[in-house]
């Protein structure tokens, strides 16, 4: 008999319910699941800290977009995952997110190096089950979308740093260049310089932002 202690964080109860339903349905007979759930950062932080003092979780499932903690220190699943890695070094971190933009994926992989990375949109109960078992046994498990992204960026020779990725991402969201400085700690002229650089990198000949975004998307940076 193995006891597996699990923490699931998501702001939608129905999703938590879904995870539970799947996991309960596919667990092996010798496995006993102890599942804690949290709807927001505050609850999640309390649970992680408590587990650090008693028995750590075996697996943590984090959603990315979550209601922030009241003190503002934790604003997303990423922050929670980093906390968990620090407090519970042995715990396997699984990120489940609706975001499928490569910028987000890239950031998450780089910062958290999760043991499991699943994208909700292409997630089925079977895949979740497979992921769960593999993560317990031999992590990591990345979903198809994530794998495709990793493949793409590795094959691409263009190096795009984090700030440039963020710029591309924000642009793709429809944020105007002159408002970009509100999102990134850079002056508008610095951002303009970076954009020019990006256009050179992606061989954008007509200088249009649209073409830049199109190129970035094709090469998997978006």
């Amino acid at each position: 008999m193995t006891d597996i202690k699990i923490l699931m964080v998501d702001d939608h109860p129905i999703i938590l319910e879904g995870y539970q339903n799947v996991l309960m349905a596919v667990k092996k007979e010798n496995q006993t699941l102890h599942i804690d759930t949290a709807n927001n950062c505050d609850t999640a932080v309390i649970m992680i800290e408590r587990a650090a003092k008693a028995r750590p979780y075996d697996v943590c499932f984090f959603d990315i977009s979550l209601p922030a903690s009241e003190d503002g220190r934790y604003t997303s699943g990423e922050d929670l995952a980093l906390l968990a890695k620090k407090l519970l070094p042995a715990t396997k971190i699984v990120i489940l997110t609706m975001f499928n933009e490569s910028f987000r994926i890239h950031n998450i992989i780089k910062e958290i190096e999760p043991d499991g990375f699943l994208i909700k949109s292409d997630l089925t109960s079977v895949e979740l089950a497979d992921a769960f078992h593999q993560i317990i046994k031999s992590p990591p498990y990345y979903s198809t979308t994530v794998n495709n992204f990793i493949k793409k960026t590795i094959s691409s020779e263009i190096y795009v740093d984090d700030i440039n990725r963020k710029i591309l991402h924000l642009l793709s969201q429809g944020i105007k260049t002159r408002s970009l400085s509100e999102y990134i700690g850079l002056t508008t002229s610095a951002i303009e310089k970076r954009k020019k650089q990006l256009k050179l990198l992606f061989l954008v000949s007509d200088g249009k932002d649209e073409t830049l975004l199109e190129e970035a998307r094709q090469r998997g940076y978006l």
């Binding site: 129905i14 339903n21 349905a25 997630l123 109960s125 944020i175 105007k176």
Partner: protein, 679 residues
């Protein structure tokens, strides 16, 4: 009756006028005809004078100054031609008066010259002649008529020679010669030049400049070869030349010239007095030369005297008599000498040729003895003194005349100088006026330009405001987009994913429990569906569309009212889609509202202001109503503000009407077409 009478009088007037003009024309014709007749040399002198006189009378009656003047000039010319010299003088004086009246400077110059001629040649009043010649000279100088100047200078020089002002004479003659040399060829040029040269020769001799005198006479002789009928002049000049040589003391040359002259006896005999003069001179020169035969010389002189007697030429007789007196005196024939000396003394007393008179007295004083001689001597001294005195007086008179004319000239110069100053001054004033005008107009232009600039700036500001508002709207749209996307992403998608996952797991399960659970999730799907519908509905209502301009206006009205302490009311029609209204119209409406609120605050003393924008039959109606003191629309002048508002309304094809009554507030109504008919 009355109008008829008037008509009659009018007719009469017209008739008489036409008659008068016809008369006038025929009068002029007859005057011209008479003038022509008066110049026909085929008529007798009396006939010619009569014609000229008649023309003159008719002209005088014509009351036409120019015609009268011409006729008068013609008359004086006819008088001169027909030998009526006194009338010539009178008529010329009259002529001068007329010319002065007409202010015709050429005519004045000619009249003065003619008068000079009249007084010099006919009246032998040298100083009056001198005066007129000087006047003429001034006019021709002003007219730059060089030929006339030369002629007059020659005449003046001749007068000065007569009056023994040799230096002045020489000066004027040289001046005349200079002018003549500078002139192009004309008909009588050689004659004029000859006259000057001859005069210069004579004057130079009198000044003792023998060489110059000889040179002038030679030039004159040379010139006679080019003249028609020159022979007499040639001989005369030769005689003059001979006298010069004689006075110089070169008696041999003198004699040779006389011998040469006397070869032309036939020609000389045409003028017997001149012939006698030549004979006399030749004989006397021989006498002076000495080495003569007494008999021959005596007979020569007597022959000359005989010619003089035969033509009753007093001058010749006088000259020969003095010669004879000297001749007899030199040859010790005292009685004969005394006889001729007395003879010459008598003649020279009658014809005042002072040189000879003095000479004869001197000879007599020499020939007589005692008291008689003494009395001749005393007489001689008295005469020469009085002559000197007279010469001095004449010269003084000339100087005075010249000084007078000089003064006149100086005055003229002064006047012309003053005129010049006046001209410069007026040009200066004109230029200043033009400059001032330019500066003023430039400034007005600048002011206008500045006003336009200010307007443009204001327009720009409002345009930016509109653009800013558009940006705000865009931003709000973008934010809304993000919000919807987030709501979909986080809320709906998440829940959908949860439900799917659960249903996915439940899919393979069977049994009542499973069915219940699935039903639960299906109900969940329904709520999600509801949520999506809600979001979709929210997306459908464009919450920001078209509100931009109204918001700007609201803000303007609110801030202005607050600043001015006015109550306000703003109503507007939701049907107007401001996106379709051109920015120009919006800017103008904004400015009209701003301007009228300012005016109301400044002048109306209002408590509240009502602004409404409504749409009536495709026309945007803007009404601005206040409850202030109002004003009389008929009396008040249109201020700049109102003019601006009018031009702004016109700028977007609209109209503006202003209605007000004292103490009943005022209403501004602006109507602007909403959408053009073609849309």
């Amino acid at each position: 009756m009355k109008p008829l009478k008037f008509k009659f009088v009018y007719c009469l007037l017209v008739l008489s006028l036409t008659c008068f003009s016809q008369n006038k024309k025929s009068l002029l014709d007859s005057i011209i005809e008479l003038r022509r007749l008066s110049n026909q040399s085929s008529l007798t002198n009396n006939q010619r004078v009569a014609a000229a006189l008649r023309a003159n009378e008719l002209s005088k009656s014509s009351a036409h100054d120019t015609t009268y003047f011409k006729s008068d000039r013609n008359l004086s010319f006819v008088y001169l031609m027909t030998g009526n010299y006194d009338q010539f003088g009178e008529s010329t004086l009259n002529n001068l008066e007329l010319a002065t009246k007409l202010n015709d400077s050429i005519a004045i110059g000619i009249a003065n010259k003619n008068l000079g001629y009249y007084y010099y040649q006919i009246k032998e009043d040298n100083s009056t002649a001198y005066k007129y010649y000087l006047n003429a000279l001034i006019y021709f100088d002003a007219l730059s008529n060089l030929r006339e100047q030369a002629e007059i200078l020659t005449s003046i020089a001749a007068i000065q020679d007569d009056e023994k002002d040799y230096l002045g004479s020489e000066q004027n003659a040289i001046e005349a010669l200079k002018i003549l040399n500078s002139l192009d060829y004309y008909k009588d040029q050689y004659l004029d030049k000859y006259l000057v040269l001859n005069l210069l020769g004579i004057v130079s001799l009198k000044l003792g400049n023998y060489e110059e005198s000889i040179s002038y006479h030679n030039q004159a002789i040379e010139l006679t070869k080019r003249l028609k009928n020159n022979y007499y002049l040639n001989l005369q000049s030769k005689n003059n030349l001979a006298i010069t040589y004689r006075d110089k003391g070169d008696l041999e040359t003198t004699l040779s010239i006389y011998r040469e002259l006397l070869e032309e006896t036939e020609v000389l005999k045409k003028d017997m007095s001149f012939y006698a003069l030549v004979l006399e001179n030749y004989a006397f020169t021989k006498f002076l030369y000495g080495n003569y035969e007494y008999k021959t010389l005596e007979s020569d002189l007597k022959y000359a005297l005989k010619i003089g007697d035969s033509i009753e030429d007093q001058y010749t007789i006088l000259a020969v008599s003095i010669d004879l007196a000297k001749f007899y005196k030199a040859n010790k024939k005292k009685d004969s000498a005394l006889k001729y000396a007395k003879e010459s003394y008598k003649i020279s007393k009658d014809i005042p040729i002072n040189d000879l008179y003095l000479e004869s007295m001197l000879i007599l004083a020499n020939l007589t003895k005692g008291e008689e001689s003494k009395s001749y001597l005393e007489e001689h001294i008295a005469l020469s003194d009085s002559l000197l005195d007279r010469e001095r007086k004449v010269r003084n008179k000339f100087a005075r005349i010249k000084y007078g004319t000089d003064q006149l000239e100086a005055k003229n110069k002064q006047i012309s100088k003053e005129n010049l100053y006046l001209l410069i001054l007026s040009i200066g004033l004109l230029l200043t006026a033009i400059l001032v005008y330019l500066v003023i107009s430039q400034r007005a232009k600048n002011r206008k330009l500045r006003l336009v600039q200010v307007q443009q700036k204001a327009n720009e500001a409002i345009y930016n405001l509109l653009l800013g508002q558009q940006d705000k709207v865009d931003e709000a749209r973008a934010k809304e987009k993000i919000r919807v996307s987030k709501e979909l992403h986080d809320g709906v998608l998440g829940r959908l994913f949860g439900a799917r996952l659960s249903l996915d797991v439940m899919n393979s399960k069977e049994g009542k429990e499973a069915v219940k659970t699935r039903a639960n999730y299906i109900a969940q799907l329904k709520t999600i569906e509801e949520d999506i519908r809600k979001i979709s509905h929210e997306l459908n209502t464009d919450f920001v569309a078209g509100s931009g301009f109204i918001e700007i206006l609201t803000e303007l009205i609110e801030t202005q009212s607050k600043a001015y302490g006015l109550g306000h009311e703003f109503k507007y029609d939701f049907d107007i889609s401001w996106d379709l209204v051109p920015n120009k119209t919006k800017i103008n409406m904004y400015r009209i509202i701003q301007e009228s609120m300012q005016n109301i605050f400044k002048h109306a003393e209002a408590k509240t202001i009502k602004i409404s924008i409504s749409l009536e039959k495709n026309v945007i109606c803007l009404d601005i109503i206040d409850d202030g003191i109002g004003f009389d629309t008929s009396k008040s002048k249109k201020g700049i503000g109102l003019k601006n508002m009018t031009s702004r309304a016109a700028d977007c094809d609209g109209t503006i009407t202003l209605s007000s009554q004292i103490n009943q507030g005022s209403t501004i109504n602006v109507k602007i077409p909403y959408l053009s008919e073609t849309l």
